[in-house]
């Protein structure tokens, strides 16, 4: 029986988790990665009287108990939206709904380091609250409206940022649709159909440089995202194959605010998007489950090392 000190909840094709497991293994840590797409390969038994969870994978048996467990690295969706979906078989609907509940119930393990606890992630995923907290902490934020009303007092000739209130991913036949941040003229917004769903409408900050700030506890990494050493108009992800990620020195006040925001949401990890414009740093959003492996590759920021440092320290 292998006692587990660090539990990684992931998906077998989540290569970001490979970085964490490789580093844990390199340090000789006692860890177990369970993958949400492989639950059918596992035998799991929880004895609530004893407070232990046994997991059998092939010939290997693992035991998770609160007194020994130090951390959980949670790489799974908090919002799973399509378990009730006519294109899924009954077995798939059952698998998705019940295993999703199972991994959420891992919050049973309370006195450990979570990165991140799904309860905290659930709260932190709300963009309106993010902007409120960021502003309270001292970040500049763009002027922001949330509305489904097109006839609002905006300037017809000005540009605005239009984006979704939550991740907006849709499917139509053999096509997927994803909503980036879009630059839209006020006149077009005022003539648009918004009634079916609210949007986020923000002041367009330009010229700007996008910054990605990754916070792991008290550690902070930042990069600027540029194309030919210049800021990118609109959503940089539309140009993702042509951009460079360059390590960036943030002022101490912005570092401290970033750390404070992550703490305010009771997170141990957060990926913050900022923009820099004319001497000011504007908060755009924080992603409690933000990706980071691309920064190890592209900017040599060893976020994997910092994450494992924190997981192995525990609470």
């Amino acid at each position: 029986m292998n006692d587990v000190e660090h539990l990684i909840v992931s998906n077998s094709f989540d290569f970001t988790s490979d970085y964490i497991c490789y580093e844990l293994q390199r340090r000789g840590q006692k860890y177990l990665r369970i993958n949400r797409d492989r639950f059918s390969d596992y035998c799991i038994f929880i004895d609530l009287c004893k407070g232990i969870m046994n997991i059998c994978i092939g010939n290997n048996e693992y035991q998770v108990k609160e007194s020994f467990l130090k951390s959980i690295y949670f790489r799974a969706p908090v919002f799973l939206r399509d378990s009730y979906n006519h294109s899924l078989s009954l077995a798939e609907q059952l698998y998705r709904s019940q295993w999703s509940s199972f991994i959420r119930n891992l919050i049973y393990f309370e006195d450990i380091l979570w990165m991140n606890n799904p309860v905290s992630t659930y709260k932190a995923e709300n963009k309106i609250l993010q902007l409120k907290y960021a502003s309270q902490i001292g970040f500049e934020i763009p002027q922001t409206f949330i509305t489904n009303e097109a006839k609002i007092p905006i300037k017809a000739e000005s540009n605005y940022i239009v984006k979704s209130l939550d991740t907006a991913l849709f499917r139509k036949d053999e096509t997927e649709l994803f909503v980036f941040s879009n630059i839209v003229k006020g006149s077009e917004i005022r003539e648009s159909n918004l009634m079916e769903a609210p949007i986020i409408l923000q002041e367009y900050i330009y010229p700007k440089i996008d910054l990605r700030v990754t916070v792991i506890g008290e550690k902070v990494h930042a990069v600027k995202i540029v194309k030919n050493n210049e800021g990118i108009e609109g959503d940089w992800r539309k140009h993702k194959d042509d951009v460079q990620f360059i390590p960036y020195d943030l002022p101490k006040t912005i570092i401290n605010r970033s750390i404070e925001l992550v703490k305010k949401f009771n997170l141990s990890f957060g990926a913050i998007d900022l923009v820099y414009c004319k001497g000011n740093y504007y908060f755009i959003e924080i992603n409690p489950t933000g990706e980071w492996a691309w920064l190890v590759e592209n900017a040599n920021q060893r976020i994997d090392i910092d994450i494992v440092d924190m997981l192995t320290r525990g609470v």
């Binding site: 969706p77 096509t175 990706e291 590759e297």
Partner: protein, 68 residues
């Protein structure tokens, strides 16, 4: 009635394949990562392996695969 502004502005692309092609690799349950059959090293250390290059990789599901 025209499409909602978010739908109108949405980026459209062909439905991506659901599972990456992992020929030449195997997943080691005990280690918790993929290994190349060629050199027995983690695929994340392989310069030729297509690793996460951007924050969205190649699929725009939201960063925690919310849309999966």
């Amino acid at each position: 009635m025209s499409y909602h502004l978010l739908i109108k502005k949405a980026y459209k692309y062909p439905l991506p394949k659901q599972v990456p092609n992992m020929d030449g690799c195997y997943y080691d349950h005990k280690k918790g990562y993929w290994i190349s059959k060629t050199n027995n090293l983690p695929v994340i250390l392989d310069k030729n392996f297509i690793k996460p290059r951007t924050k969205k990789e190649d699929r725009e599901t939201g960063e925690d695969q919310k849309g999966e």
